[in-house]
């Protein structure tokens, strides 16, 4: 219901906004010429069109629209899939979806293999001539078994009758299938049982009650049409199985293949260990013979009737699908529902692109702090004692330099704390103050890593960049170093990180720092060296000191460049973070995605992608606001 409304809203939004936009173009009086940035201002309606369009594509290709408007279609298509599944093996034999008969293909390729093997035997230097003759004789005999299978005169009457029978069965099924009364009504008990089972099997789509994957498509037929296809599929399966048990092994062929097998066996047992190659080649010949034996090869015209009946049935079942076929074509783009064994599944874009409604349900579920992912919430808070922060700030060695000894346990088994041990307690934070809530969870951890990497990069990178832009020594000294490491993709360091810095946050933050550091240096340096000389001269002549020039002229002038650098660095940091969290970890968005991938939880994968996109956007929007507030002179120098 919700998805339906959304779909309509999106349609109206897109059409309305496009109409509004066109009207605006006609009525608006703009004196800005082409190239004036004023022309790019405004345009909220186009933002609506853009985001609506993305959502529409998502709804469409994840088959959520199909689910909203035709909730029963998946169940019906599952039954159609069962029919196709039963027909598949038979279809492959005929040039229905192929270019040639399967038997034609088998004979062609086996002839090729026979010739290849014959050539190999002839050219082999390691076998005696008598073996060669023998082996070539085997090959000749193998070759001769093929015509025994394809000869119309040799095929047994039994086999022909059986094929006729199966063909008739398909034809009858085709006729029955079109009747309204098909399938015949079963006993009331069975019908009740089915209705009971339908109630239990649930609906289409991932359920929002568990993070793990659950039933996606109900398999028991729910509608009249579904029942029809389900029944036909069962009959077809029996027919198909019977056909594949059938072999065109007439007495002559049986005799020939038995002789060949016996001959080869005798020949091989007659060889001793010195003639291994000949023995192996004989075995290869036998393999080809057995492949021909196993393939369903029939004389060319024998299966014509059967092919016709299958094509006929296929056409009828397509016709019987009625408007379901239209739903399948238009609302299940890039794939459809496929049946395999007892299950039905979405194959195509619906498989890896989860439905917005399912994704939303699962996101709500993951957001619950009691569920989370791998027992850690996405984002929540925990109570932490302030003493921990104090313990983190005060270094532990302070206790070591306090005079005296750490207490030793006494003979009555107690430990008496002294001043030194009390200092240690404070330094390690093992005391109680009051508790404050602090954020925690996957999203917070990822956010913190990016934030730390970025801030450290800015704090170290910007001064160094400015210094390099202003000082010959700094430029010369640091340039080779920076330029050597800058072009290396940050992920190239990743394999080393675990060995050198371990698997904790230090390694990940370090990787992110490497990213932001080089970007900040480059932008600060470009900003510093890009300051207009006239401004520096002006401030000089007004008597400014070096510090004042740096503070009031060069720094403000390079700020636009620096802040653009920060924006670039944020993007790069997010990119690197996911890969860094793929490496090793217990928390973070990248970790969630990596683990979800291993369990094929496509909804969770998409949730992580959206969360990252949203966080990136949040960072960027915040920064844009900061830029607008702090440097209104940008672009006007």
């Amino acid at each position: 219901m919700f998805t339906q409304i959304i779909t309509f809203l999106i349609f109206f939004a897109i059409i309305g906004c496009i109409l509004y936009g066109r009207k605006l173009i006609k009525n608006e009086k703009v004196d800005a010429v082409f190239g004036n940035p004023e022309r790019a201002k405004g345009g909220t309606h186009w933002i609506i069109v853009g985001s609506s369009f993305i959502l529409l594509v998502w709804l469409y290709y994840s088959w959520d629209i199909a689910k909203a408007f035709y909730p029963k279609s998946a169940n019906e298509l599952c039954q159609v899939g069962k029919v196709n599944d039963s027909l598949l093996s038979l279809k492959y034999l005929f040039p229905i979806e192929e270019r040639q008969f399967k038997s034609t293909f088998v004979i062609k390729s086996e002839n090729k293999n026979i010739n290849k093997l014959a050539k190999e035997i002839k050219n082999s230097p390691d076998i005696r001539n008598q073996d060669k003759d023998k082996l070539l004789d085997f090959i000749e005999k193998t070759k001769k078994t093929i015509p025994l299978l394809t000869n119309e005169k040799l095929i047994e009457n039994n086999t022909i009758v059986k094929i006729k029978e199966l063909t008739n069965k398909i034809t009858w099924l085709t006729e029955d299938f079109q009747k309204i009364g098909y399938p015949p009504i079963k006993s009331i008990e069975e019908e009740n049982k089915r209705i009971e089972a339908i109630k239990k099997q649930g609906g289409w789509g991932a359920s929002g009650t568990a993070v793990e994957n659950t039933v996606e498509i109900p398999t028991i037929p729910e509608t009249k049409k579904g029942l029809k296809f389900d029944a036909a599929a069962k009959e077809l399966k029996i027919i198909s199985d019977e056909f594949f048990k059938l072999r065109n092994h007439n007495p002559e062929y049986k005799k020939a293949i038995k002789n060949l097998k016996d001959d080869i066996k005798k020949y091989r047992s007659g060889l001793d260990d010195t003639h291994e190659i000949a023995s192996a080649l004989a075995k290869d010949v036998l393999k080809i013979a057995r492949r021909i034996e196993y393939a369903s090869i029939f004389p060319p015209k024998t299966l014509n009737e059967m092919q016709k009946s299958i094509i006929e049935f296929d056409n009828v079942q397509k016709k019987e699908q009625g408007n379901l076929r239209l739903v399948d074509i238009f609302l299940f783009p890039a794939g459809t529902i496929v049946s395999s064994g007892p299950n039905c599944s979405e194959q195509g874009s619906g498989r890896w692109l989860p439905k917005p409604s399912d994704t939303f349900d699962k996101f709500v579920l993951l957001l619950k702090p009691s569920v989370g992912f791998k027992n850690i919430p996405l984002i929540w808070y925990e109570m932490m004692d302030v003493s921990k922060i104090i313990g983190f700030i005060i270094p532990d060695w302070i206790a070591d330099i306090v005079p005296g000894q750490y207490p030793v346990h006494s003979s009555d088994g107690t430990v008496k704390p002294n001043f030194k041990s009390k200092v240690l307690k404070v330094a390690t934070g093992e005391f109680k103050l009051f508790k404050i809530p602090i954020p925690m969870g996957h999203i917070w951890d990822s956010f913190l890593r990016v934030f730390l990497g970025l801030v450290i990069g800015i704090i170290l990178g910007v001064p160094l960049g400015l210094f390099m832009g202003l000082n010959r020594f700094a430029k010369g000294f640091f340039d080779p170093l920076i330029e050597l490491y800058r072009p290396v993709p940050p992920l190239a360091w990743a394999p080393l990180i675990i060995s050198v810095l371990g698997i904790d946050n230090v390694g990940k933050v370090f990787l992110l720092f490497m990213v932001s550091f080089s970007i900040m240096i480059i932008s600060a340096r470009a900003g510093a060296s890009g300051t207009q000389l006239s401004k520096i001269h002006a401030s000089h002549s007004l008597g400014a000191s070096r510090w004042q020039i740096l503070r009031y002229v060069i720094f403000p002038n390079s700020l636009p460049e620096i802040l653009t650098g920060v924006r670039v660095a944020i993007g790069m940091c997010w990119g690197t973070l996911v890969a860094a969290e793929f490496l090793a970890g217990t928390t973070g968005i990248g970790f969630v995605e990596n683990v979800a991938k291993k369990y094929f939880q496509y909804e969770v994968i998409w949730i992580t992608i959206f969360v990252m996109g949203m966080l990136g956007l949040l960072f960027d929007v915040t920064l844009r606001k900061i830029i607008d507030k702090t440097i209104p002179w940008r672009g006007k120098g």
Binding site: R22, Y61, D85, L88, S89, Y92, E97, E98, R99, Q100, F105, S109, E110, N113, L117, E212, N213, E216, I217, F244, D284, K287, I288, R291, Y294, A295, P333, A334, G335, V338, S340, G341, P342, N343, C344, S345, E346, Q347, G348, S349, R351, K374, N375, I498, S499, G502, I503, D504, L583, A584, G585, T586, F591, N594, V595, K597, K598, Y599, F600, Q601
Partner: protein, 313 residues
């Protein structure tokens, strides 16, 4: 405006069609396998016996874990996965991937997949509950995770109290060496060798066997390939079982296998020695009522994922 609309419509039509283009007639068979995981049929692989037996070229691609094999099979790039771990297969089937289990590649004890605790931590089987609250590296969603779960039950440690870190075996070994984790669960000869250099197995191979911890690797196949080329699949499994029989008779060329598995001969022999290759009859029993069946049921696998009709009985 018209141009934009026609472009969008064109794109939609193209996208819809692109997925429905079917390619069929198998002109080659694409098989996935593992390195550092020696099997007798690698001799046949090197000597091109599969190509001969199947009558079409066989393309072998190596993978680093079973999950990636599933991904490749779903994308239509792989037809048969040989020696895929059972756990990745079960995960795939649970998410309704159209795959079938048609053969057991091998059963193995903890020789090939094991948990190693670092010597520095001083944790052994006796005081394994000390693992609680510490960091352990586990490649989630693989056979190693199963071995980890089972081992923890044996030694009486609570998994939920540990800090389980998702790490692939090579990284897990590196983290164990670096002292970042106190225990790493891993598979693959070289990774286990690196880990045991600084640590010891939590359970010995024999202890694990006694506790009933058993790894099973399987042969899985896409539904499509199975329906399309049942003969080829049958032949593939047959050649594999022939190779296993040859190995059992002591006639395999170990040097070829070692080279193909990219291992040293000694390491290879040790690894392959821990594998148990089943005969077709044993395989059928295991698939229908034995170890494999029990494993699948224990993990809550949907029924209908196993097909014994391709075994060369």
């Amino acid at each position: 405006m018209k141009k934009i609309i026609s472009f969008i419509l064109g794109t939609i039509v193209a996208l819809n069609l692109s997925m429905s283009v079917a390619n069929s007639a198998a002109n080659e068979v694409r098989v996935a396998f593992f390195l550092e995981w020696p099997t007798p049929n690698q001799e046949d692989k090197v000597k091109k016996m599969f190509d001969k037996a199947l009558g079409v070229p066989v393309k072998w691609t190596n993978f680093s874990n079973g999950g990636a094999m599933t991904d490749a099979m779903l994308a239509g790039d792989i037809d048969i996965s040989y020696s895929q771990g059972l756990v990745p297969f079960i995960n795939a089937v649970k998410s309704k991937a159209p795959l079938k289990l048609v053969d057991i590649a091998m059963e193995y004890g903890m020789g090939g997949t094991t948990c190693v605790t670092s010597n520095a931590s001083g944790i052994t089987k006796a005081n394994a509950s000390e693992l609680e609250g510490k960091k352990v590296a586990v490649p989630l969603g693989t056979m190693a995770e199963y071995v980890f779960d089972e081992s923890m039950k044996v030694v009486g440690a609570d998994r939920s109290k540990m800090n389980v870190i998702q790490m692939d075996p090579e990284e897990g070994a590196a983290a164990l060496v670096g002292g970042d984790v106190v225990m790493a669960c891993l598979f693959g000869g070289n990774s286990i060798k690196a880990a045991t250099a600084v640590g010891t197995r939590l359970l010995t191979v024999q202890e694990a066997r006694d506790a009933g911890i058993l790894g099973i690797d399987i042969t899985s196949v896409t539904d499509k390939f199975m329906k399309e080329n049942p003969g080829m699949l049958r032949t593939f499994i047959e050649v594999t079982h022939e190779a296993n029989a040859r190995y059992a008779a002591g006639k395999s060329d170990m040097n070829v296998i070692a080279k193909d598995a990219e291992m040293k001969l000694g390491d290879m022999k040790e690894t392959i020695g821990g594998f148990k290759f089943l005969t077709p009859a044993e395989t059928k029993t295991s698939m229908e009522s034995g170890n494999l069946d029990g494993f699948l049921k224990g993990m809550g696998t949907p029924s209908g994922a196993v097909d014994t009709s391709f075994l060369p009985l």
